[in-house]
Symmetry: C2
């Protein structure tokens, strides 16, 4: 079996923003579908893993786009496994227009956890190292974007607090990973999107949040075009005690102003 | 040409709620796509209409589901034009599982407006009554759900106020019609969705809202299973004057408690 799969998608009218660019959350969802199909075809899909009480958890995602797919365009996501470490696997993506033009790339890191203990599993010993068969040959691993940066937050400013609702929650009972991206981009005013485009999104998923959790969004501007975001949850436990925990760290990079191009 | 079109769809993993049912907003989006394709194939799509500076506006939508499409199911939306009045057209839908089991139905009312004046156009005189050719024969118009009710709001209670953000806005610069449905369902607590399922949603779109508008959600419980919602916008004009205007009226009907079945 080839190591790289293609997941075609069509950019629907209501999947684009007011500039006509696909929403990052929609693009990310296509990528998750591509990853899910890719794993499933190789016997490592969530349904198969559930039988041995394991599942995949997305730990880190970086998407970097030179150009966004536009309304009515036919595009594809390609995905493959770059490498497998004991507790993590690196999965890469490319996003292409139907004519083959690359529009952008993405990197992701996934852990496998035991559903009972919620602890990470040793990927290499699982199923006798079967997963290593699916690592892409080095020369096919074309993903020319930066790796993960480190997040340094020093007294970030509280921008807003929201409660999580019905539409945020996926079938696992968690806030959907793409919904965090939606909420993060919703922090920026219209003028920002009129002047600049989002070029890169980097997000580290630290903890799950649930229906009814209160999320606080802390912001730390890094430069004219880059902002760090920390999301903390304020959960109320069974004993009514309150706790605060970091849910996500993210970094959003915009392009320079459009009129400077 | 047959009067009824089919739009197949697959229920993706992140398109379902924590109960495993497709989100109404996602189902509604499939219906809008089905309607768009149906019109386009008959020369009445938005792209063709834009050439004469006209467009379709969704005025009313009622969706009633006996059962919701579930994760990983293959389903289809069927759509057709029930009737054409001078200023409105009635478009109906059925939602079926791949094996042909009907899961639910929907009714919608659309107006055609002139993009310059924003006033409704006479649909029958436009293009010499061409649209009448696409009205379905009466015996094929199978849509066994209630028509539109009247909304009566008497001192509804203010539930919450939100600002509209980047993710709410579609390519026309308006809050996406399905986003109102998301925000409305987000008014209900987790316990409601654990106990009951949404059976019917009825929504009347009264005015557009835009990026940055502040929306207030007023609620009027009608019965144990039915709630009326009025959305008002507080827009700030160029002269900084404030105005309040009704954007939507909606009615949400839940099933009786699950444990009563």
């Amino acid at each position: 079996m080839d190591c790289i799969d293609s997941y075609p998608f069509y950019v629907e009218p209501f999947h684009v923003d007011f500039r006509g660019n696909i929403f990052f959350s929609i693009l990310g969802n296509h990528m998750l579908n591509a990853a899910g199909n890719h794993s499933q075809k190789r016997g490592w899909g969530i349904a198969a893993l559930n039988e041995t009480r394991h599942t995949w958890v997305l730990s880190r995602l970086s998407i970097e786009m030179n150009e966004m797919p536009k309304e009515y365009e036919h595009c594809e996501v390609r995905t493959w496994v770059e490498s497998v470490k004991r507790y993590f696997t690196n999965r890469n993506f490319s996003i292409l227009r139907a004519d083959g033009t690359p529009l952008g790339y993405a990197r992701s890191i996934w852990a496998m956890i035991d559903l009972e203990t919620r602890k990470p599993c040793d990927l290499i010993s699982l199923y006798d190292g079967d997963i290593l068969r699916y690592v892409v040959p080095e020369e096919e691993n074309i993903c020319p974007i930066e790796g993960y940066g480190r997040f340094h937050f020093r007294e970030p400013e509280l921008l807003c607090t929201i409660d999580t609702h019905y539409s945020d929650i996926d079938i696992n009972g968690h806030v959907n990973s793409m919904k965090y991206i939606e909420h993060i981009l919703d922090l920026f005013p219209r003028e920002r999107f009129e002047r600049q485009q989002v070029r890169r999104i980097e997000i580290a998923y630290k903890a799950e949040s649930y229906f009814g959790d209160r999320l606080s969004f802390y912001c730390q501007p890094v430069s004219e075009v880059e902002t760090g975001i920390e999301i903390r949850k304020h959960a109320v436990g069974k004993e009514h005690e309150c706790s605060e925990e970091v849910v996500c760290h993210a970094r959003i990079c915009f392009t320079q102003d459009n009129n400077e191009h």
